[in-house]
Symmetry: C2
Subunit: 743 residues, 2 copies
């Protein structure tokens, strides 16, 4: 080879070598950027739309139906043997090697429950002056389908009502509100020593007793009027099992405790060694013996009352003119001097109640939790309440568990499934859980999804939640086909049934706010976790039922669901698809899908309601609240801009920091001193509101009190204090959204 | 060229090309791993040891000295014109384009302060029965160095003591503790209608008045005994300016408010519109007129008392035998029936007080805050208290600010420098700040470093803090040379002066615990933020002074520091180096340098103290506490293993998750219901402990109360409640350290 050839070859080799180096360096991505499917997931992986489709496609109506059949086979009252069997069923499902979760564990608490006596049933009797029993109300519901005769059906009772046997003349007190009792007195009726008959609705269960006792009432009866629950149907041949309506013997059971959580251990998890109140020191139990009865028995009592005719709004559908009493008509079934005797033998018992927790560990941010829960305990068979929700829960966990077990998927964040115990007695299992894991949840919980009763009826979605949940619920509902023949989505169908005009979004479905009706209560009120509750429900143009008619009765059975509420279980499936879609979006999206702008709309509307109500009142200056809301709005708008401008979502710390701001916004509205007379309520925006002014609840309530005593400056001081609480919460929330390196 | 040559060349070229590709891919790191100094920092960058050296080398004793000269030039009582000048000075320094911070802002609060009247000075007089004034105490301190005559020196007074002019016979009540007054009564001395003379120390300022009033005392005097402050020196020629000792006319001013924070707005930031208590509803002001006096005047009163000789432990160094009273000797300076009249004209005033905040934005995790603060306001010139700390603060911020402005460095986390207002009146500026930014700080604050009085004396470091702070303080102290001629480090010198035996570490310096003596109080007790306080202090073998002798007097001047406390300012420099080193470690380390294992040692010692004290007492079962502490110890050990095993610290999310566990551990010990009678105190481990049992303070205090009334079951119920609070805190803390996807 010539020397110049050698040089040429060497130069060519060197050039090629360099090109190789350059190509190797720039053209081939490093392995770290190219995760294998078996390796750890990329911290920048976003939610996969295909996953949503896969999961929604696998959620099976038949499986939900079979879940429900098993769950509602027998009565499963909290801590009963069947409740324990269901605990094991859940553990078994969640520990299944093919379709289970990463871990499934039991959390047990020793809690105070209340039961009627097996030996001495509670009784309601009419007694004449010489002591003869003229009438006895049923001690149990009629056995119409075989299930009501099960020995495990608990007698209808008012949980936590004290034992006793008061006897006195009967009065009719409508719904047992403070103003109902006041009205009776205004009609010259002496309530001292009376037994009050009231109907469900209008006031909390326990409040009917508390209000009555203040006026001298010594015993309370509660029934469900066919006008309120059955669209006036009341005869055996037109009620269940012939329709969805409540049979005449049906009785709504329920807890009459004012607060929630284990009554003996407020603010402590009810471990065996926890500090417990003396029973006598418990606040919030009803003060007088109380018993619920069916409308069949209520009719006998109510239609025989003497006295003035009750107002039109107090009338019901029992087929007679309702009178106020006190005492019975001389020309009726009972002698005029006959009285009603209510005998209650309820007993308080400390029992072990279990939660079951099932976890899918997050792949990227295992320390961020999306919780999804429902209670397990029922009053009787509880096919609707709560087993419809549990049937959905088990189907969602099966589908996601199977993907995890097959190695096909793992969410970015941890998913915590929960089956709560003893909800019916006052959200006890979920509340104790929040007490035990307060700090851990406060620091790490992204959201809580509750599906208790999955299907009240099969007409439309109904969702409640705090504002950041609105957009993710909407996004999910837009991807789910509505059940039935319609070709609409769940979202569009919902929009038709229940909508409102939003300043930001135009006409949208109405998202309700969260009270304390199910296990989300401690999550939203005590912990400030963005929460939501999802169900399918009624067409309100077709029924005015207060709730589904067999609620808390022995007629809430599998057959009832299958025949009347959701034949084919398509509404159950739609709820499962919607809830699973929400769950996946929350647990797998790179950026949390929270619409914090929707809090701006809420705050603006609260502000306007306050401005309308307080105009020119007693030196109430809303200027600081105006400034706070404006600052919040600015902070939201600017944060939304910064999120959009995040040049790349590939920096996992940037994403985490923004997500922390979104997650913790709800926490900023907490003030443990906002509602000093209520247990757990700390969320300044969603605490209990007794006022009609739709503004900050503490402010609205204080304002109502001040209007009652406008000359007492201390009442206006309370308004001002609540105004400061509201301002401080909004300012603090704005501060958490503002650029982080800014004070 | 032969065909085989062509083939050979092609093969060689191909091989070389491949080698090049391989080399290029594997041997040359991608640019992302190699950040340029101008680009964004790597999220995996750890603290640079060279940076520590650079910063420590630049902290300049002369500059600290010049800072102090300027800061202490004039009296700068909270909200005074000079206080405002210093606000501007701080803003100017922190906004300096060459050596300032990223941002510097003012935070203003409208707070309730208490001042003596300019027109009517407070007086202390001896008055005979016909009303002649036999003696008047000084109204101001003697002008010994020219500075005491400044018209801006505030008259000595007891802030928040009410106005009034009580007159009565004098008694000597030692330190004004509950047992001191009880002792006087046990000696047959009727305290009703008396004026009590007490000395500083032993009880909180306000407590002396509260305790006395319970026994009928109507006015209070407080002085500083030369035995307690001056190692018995008391003559003008042996006290300042001839030594560091307090001159005879020196008077300790101070706040007599029981709580901390603005008295009108507990739990609200004191914005102009905030809800305010009525003045009459404020809890915790002293109930009787109170006035502090110098020992020169105290001697005249005390050495003329009649009555029984006071116990040995009540005697002091005023050169006479202390008697109890009541009333004066017949053969002394005053006639026997003479009384003491205390006239107080203090006024409450709402004033605007400012904090100044200066921020260095974090490069990687700007939403994590390391706070470093000191108050700015003094009682008079305040060269030691607080300007020694502010002089150090300004020097640290200058050095770090310069690095930032030059583009040479930016910390991983954000640094927040704070100059608090109105600390002397009750930690007001810092407390209002924690109220305003509660949620933001609770979610994001890594630690709070307090350097108030930087140098009490020049013998040794003294540090207080919660256990996670121990190791970072030690690490820093080991890198700083001790001031003076010694060749020891600050750590080794400290170890010689004050040490203890640790079960985990052997003999180590003693870290004190945090009470409520300076601005860390709201951070640790209200917010649960790992906090610490750093200073240089006495050799306790050489002085028994309760505190540096000119504390809160008009003699706390620049000259005093320069001449007696720290000639050459080398101790100031050592404190600056130690504090800056800590600040850099906390703000720039990849993993937070918190030694959570040191909480195991604390909890174990609290448990053992409880076991020793409660042995066999009244059914107190410590089993649940034992289990909780063991669970905590396990959780710590396992987390430490997981941290070690973190294969690579290059995953920024893994690091963030672990750091969040470390940061938020302290939060898990909070329970806002643990100390219901105290404002702000929520930290279950460090709340106010009145008991000698060194266990959980709520538990210890309840136990002491129960021992006083052992037959009252309600007292033991309180012990059990506090035990549950302790168990719940430790269990919750363990849960936050356990693997995150576990409940």
């Amino acid at each position: 080879m010539k020397w110049w050839k050698v040089v040429l070859v060497v130069v060519a080799l060197a050039a090629l070598f360099s090109v190789g180096i350059i190509l190797g360096h720039f053209a081939i991505p490093k392995k770290a950027d190219q995760p294998e499917s078996t390796g750890p997931p990329s911290p920048s992986q976003d939610l996969d739309p295909e996953l949503l489709k896969t999961v929604m496609g696998q959620l099976d109506a038949n499986r939900i139906q079979e879940n429900l059949r098993e769950l509602s086979l027998k009565p499963h009252l909290a801590t009963s043997p069947r409740d324990e069997e269901l605990v094991r069923l859940l553990l078994q499902r969640w520990q299944d090697p093919e379709s289970g979760l990463d871990t499934a564990t039991r959390g047990e608490y020793e809690v105070l429950l209340s039961f009627p006596s097996n030996e001495q049933p509670n009784t309601v009797q009419v007694v004449n002056p010489v002591g003869n029993i003229l009438f006895s109300a049923r001690k149990s519901e009629e056995d119409l389908t075989g299930e009501q005769g099960d020995t495990n059906v608990v007698q209808p009772y008012a949980a936590y009502a004290p034992p006793g046997a008061p006897q006195g003349p009967l009065v009719y007190a409508n719904r047992g509100t403070e103003s109902d009792y006041a009205y009776l007195e205004s009609q010259g009726i002496n309530l001292n020593g009376t037994i009050a008959l009231t109907r469900y609705g209008g006031a909390g269960r326990g409040a009917k007793a508390v209000n009555g006792a203040k006026h001298g009432v010594i015993g309370l009866l509660v029934y469900t009027d066919p006008r309120d629950i059955n669209d006036n149907l009341r005869f055996p041949n037109e009620t269940f099992p012939h329709s969805w309506a409540m049979p005449p013997s049906g009785v709504e059971r329920g807890s009459y405790y004012k607060h929630f959580g284990d009554p003996l251990t407020p603010y402590f998890p009810a471990t065996p060694s926890a500090f417990r109140l003396e029973t006598a020191d418990i606040q919030g139990f009803p003060p007088i013996p109380t018993q619920p009865i069916g409308f069949e028995d209520a009719q006998v009592l109510l239609c025989n009352l003497q006295g003035p005719v009750a107002p039109e709004s107090w009338q019901g559908a029992l087929g007679c003119v309702y009178r106020l009493g006190s005492g019975f008509q001389s020309n009726g079934t009972f002698s005029q001097a006959s009285e009603v005797k209510v005998t209650v033998h309820n007993q308080l018992e400390r029992r072990n109640s279990s939660n079951v927790l099932g976890i899918i560990r997050g792949a990227v941010e295992p320390d961020r939790y999306v919780l999804y829960g429902n209670h397990r305990d029922s009053w009787v068979h509880g096919a609707v309440d709560p087993s419809s929700g549990t049937a959905v829960l088990l189907e969602i966990s099966r589908v996601l568990g199977t993907l995890v077990k097959k190695g096909k998927w793992r969410p970015r964040r941890s998913i915590v499934f929960a089956s709560w115990g003893a909800e019916e007695f006052g959200l006890i299992g979920s509340t104790e859980f929040t007490e035990e894991f307060f700090t851990k949840l406060q620091e790490r919980a992204v959201a809580y999804i509750n599906v208790d009763i999955a299907v009240f009826a099969n007409a439309t979605l109904r969702a409640q939640g705090t504002p950041p949940a609105q957009s993710v619920i909407f996004s999910a509902a837009k991807q789910v086909p509505a059940p039935g023949k319609s070709s609409l989505t769940v979202y569009d169908n919902w929009l038709q049934h229940s909508n409102r005009s939003s300043s930001a979004h135009g006409v949208i479905p109405s998202l309700g706010s969260l009270g304390s009706g199910s296990d989300y209560a401690a999550f939203v009120h005590f912990l400030g976790i963005t929460s939501m509750d999802i169900a399918y429900t009624y067409d309100r143009s077709k029924t005015s039922a207060r709730i589904y008619p067999t609620y808390h009765t022995a007629f809430d059975t599998f057959e009832y669901v299958e025949k009347f509420l959701d034949p084919g279980f398509t509404s159950h499936q739609a709820v499962a698809q919607t809830a699973a879609n929400i769950l996946l979006r929350l647990s797998d999206s790179l950026l949390l899908p929270f619409s914090i702008g929707d809090y701006s709309e809420t705050l603006r509307s609260f502000l306007q309601a306050a401005q309308n109500a307080f105009l020119g009142q007693q030196n109430i200056n809303l200027g600081p609240l105006v400034s706070a809301v404006e600052r919040f709005e600015r902070a939201v708008a600017e944060l939304e801009k910064r999120i959009e401008a995040l040049q790349s979502l590939s920096d996992p710390l940037q994403v985490r920091m923004v997500n922390d701001q979104l997650m913790l916004l709800e926490r900023a509205f907490l003030n443990p001193r906002a509602f000093p007379e209520e247990y757990y309520y700390s969320h300044v925006l969603w605490g209990p509101r007794t006022s009609n002014v739709t503004t900050f609840p503490g402010l609205a309530n204080a304002y109502d009190e001040a209007l009652k005593m406008p000359d007492d400056p201390s009442t206006w001081a309370k308004v001002k204090k609540q105004l400061s609480i509201a301002v401080m919460a909004v300012e603090g929330a704005a501060a958490t959204l503002e650029p982080v390196a800014q004070f």
